[in-house]
């Protein structure tokens, strides 16, 4: 079966290479190498420890064609925009740059915001950095490198502070045959620079598709990057996303993975605290319903001393939905003074919903502060009774408590318009709440 699957993607790969004849040689080489890697690795099955709770049968059993650019109107896009966070936006439809939907105002010197396709030939940084961070030994990062058509390239020069959020939207639309798109984001934050980046993955229509994305974020010394990945895929979508964070000396990176919708989604976050005093804060929220399946796999690798990391992942699962959380903290030899915290809290709203959680610590040095905790449960019946005793009906009481549970993650997002938009989304999701935030 493995062989059959690889042959399928081999066909996809051939089709894709034919569609992209004029690429620079270095990229073709990178792709060939990546595809060889993918073939050698094969698709993971539930027999792999890291995939035991997420079955990829629906991907293994499908033939995918490369996704093609399609028409998306401003009006269709509108509901995925974020008020006050769309002054700068790059929009991709099915993995291809959508010029007309994008907005690139004059930007300061030292800042580059471009679709990768436009700078392939000209930007040397890109050639050096692309695909150098995300682990090529992962089948899906390799597949993305082989198959990506376009994506966002964001680079801030040293000491440049960009407070305006940059919104990258990857839209996928219906197609006749199941299609694969491979969004690719590369963010390079120079020394002491500051960037805010939002990636939205949104699905239009419900035809089966695969979105296999890779996001690489590099924060040089003392840089600060705030990143939010917003998942609003359709139920027909399998989303596989790898986020690679490379955090250098005294840099601060926060990355929030907000899973609002998707048929199946697997998010891998791999954070390497590569130099002394590097900090990262990784948070996630899952709101599962129907038969949705979400899987968040986090690895934080403390390589050097005095790094701090925190993880707060929360899932609210309803109906027959399922959430998986696996968080691993590695503290390498010599990474003394490390402070690593991890929290995973799960709220089960139905008896048929399911959560699996696996915290892991691998510590190879003394003098570290590590803590982790996981909880799973239902809404507190005493709190429900209390709210009802004050006049709220049962549905309202439950919604309010669920909102509060989920909002605890949203609160940590330090890009104001995104936080506000998400609070509003939560309010809508848990209808019957007053305007304004509880």
């Amino acid at each position: 079966m493995t062989t059959r699957t690889q042959n399928r993607f081999a066909h996809t790969y051939t089709l894709l290479r034919k569609a992209l004849p004029d690429e620079p040689g270095w990229l073709s080489e990178l792709r060939d190498e990546a595809f060889e890697n993918f073939k050698a690795l094969g698709l993971p099955t539930v027999k792999h420890e890291e995939w035991r709770w997420t079955n990829l049968k629906r991907i293994a059993d499908t033939d995918f064609v490369p996704a093609e650019l399609a028409e998306v109107s401003e009006a269709q896009l509108a509901k995925y925009l974020i008020e006050d966070a769309d002054e700068i936006r790059l929009v991709f439809v099915n993995g291809h740059f959508a010029d007309k939907l994008s907005k690139l105002p004059t930007i300061p010197d030292g800042l580059v915001i471009e679709p990768i396709s436009r700078v392939l030939g000209s930007d040397e940084g890109l050639q050096v950095k692309l695909g150098r961070f995300a682990e090529p030994t992962q089948p899906f990062t390799a597949l993305n490198t082989a198959l990506f058509t376009d994506g966002a390239y964001i680079r801030a020069g040293n000491s440049l502070t960009i407070q305006t959020p940059i919104h990258v939207l990857y839209v996928s639309t219906d197609s006749d045959a199941p299609a694969v798109s491979s969004p690719r984001t590369l963010v390079l934050a120079g020394e002491s620079s500051e960037l805010r980046v939002i990636e939205s993955f949104v699905g239009h229509g419900n035809s089966p598709r695969l979105v296999n994305s890779v996001t690489e974020i590099v924060a040089k010394g003392n840089a600060a990057v705030r990143h939010v990945k917003l998942l609003r895929e359709s139920d027909g979508t399998s989303h596989l996303g790898w986020t690679e964070l490379n955090v250098e000396r005294d840099a601060n990176v926060s990355s929030h993975s907000i899973n609002l919708d998707a048929g199946l989604a697997r998010n891998d976050v791999h954070a390497v605290l590569a130099a002394e005093g590097a900090n990262c804060s990784l948070n996630g929220l899952v709101l599962g319903r129907d038969r949705q399946h979400f899987d968040n796999h986090i690895v934080v690798d403390h390589v050097r001393p005095h790094g701090t990391s925190s993880q707060l992942y929360r899932a609210v699962v309803d109906d027959k939905s399922r959430s998986v959380f696996a968080g691993k903290v590695i503290v390498r030899q010599g990474a003394h003074g490390t402070d690593a915290q991890q929290q995973n809290n799960n709220l089960l709203l139905s008896n048929d919903a399911k959560v699996d959680t696996k915290p892991q610590l691998e510590i190879y040095t003394d003098d570290v502060k590590c803590s982790h905790g996981a909880t799973s449960g239902q809404l507190n019946p005493e709190a429900i009774f209390f709210l009802r005793c004050r006049g709220l009906d049962e549905t309202h009481a439950r919604n309010l408590l669920t909102y509060a549970f989920a909002n605890n993650v949203i609160e940590h997002i330090k890009i104001d318009p995104v936080r506000l938009a998400l609070e509003k989304l939560l309010t809508e999701r848990f209808a019957g709440l007053l305007g304004g935030s509880p």
């Binding site: 507190n380 019946p381 005493e382 709190a383 009774f385 209390f386 709210l387 009802r388 005793c389 004050r390 006049g391 709220l392 009906d393 049962e394 309202h396 309010l400 408590l401 909102y403 509060a404 549970f405 909002n407 605890n408 709440l433 007053l434 304004g436 935030s437 509880p438």
Partner: protein, 255 residues
Amino acid sequence: MTEPLLEIKDLHVSVEGTEILHGVNLTVNAGEVHAIMGTNGSGKSTLTKVIAGHPDYEVTKGDVLYNGKSILEDEPEDRACAGIFLAFQYPVEVPGVSNMYFLRSALNAQRKSRGEAELSGAEFLDLVKEKAKLVDIDQGLLNRSVNEGFSGGEKKRNEIFQLAVLAPTLAILDETDSGLDIDALKTVASGVNSMRDPERAFLLVTHYQRLLNYIEPDRVHVLLDGRIAKSGGKELALQLEDKGYAWIEEEAATA
């Protein structure tokens, strides 16, 4: 003759199959203040929770009438909207929900059920300011999550604050005075006293006679082992303070 506001008739209540109340009778008229005292575990909180409609408590016999109608089939929120308020012995923490949002939702839910217009944000703020002064609650607490990280005294004050804002017809206070210092106790008492009204009744559960120095009850009842063992005027509370509960137990045994 006017109808009693609250009438409890031969009430038997079980939790998880164990009977806790073994036939409680109690009548409270509008305008009155009743105190309920009794030893630990005698069933005082159980009685208050049954009146409020807690789903874990099963009424196996008897009835609770409010304004002449049985409320046993009513949901807790219906009882709240009808004007029944319970201040909890152990106030619940609700992380992530601000006091202000919660209270405004509650008040508006109650107003809506009575066919009254919902209060706007500004109107609500005015009301809150007035009532916060009345119960001397720190404005800072109002913007925090309900009871989260509050001290014991702050939690009790917050219950009284909710009482003042929601202005119920029947207010049941379960040991709101326990653990309060004298200043806090006086504030709670003056809050209650300022709300005394011919249309409103209070049911005060307490362990300590001290509260009744500040809120003068019309009747005092002693709940022992799931039954009202003795009722009397406010002097009964003083006797209890002096002599404890043993003599009532003996009286009840020989009766």
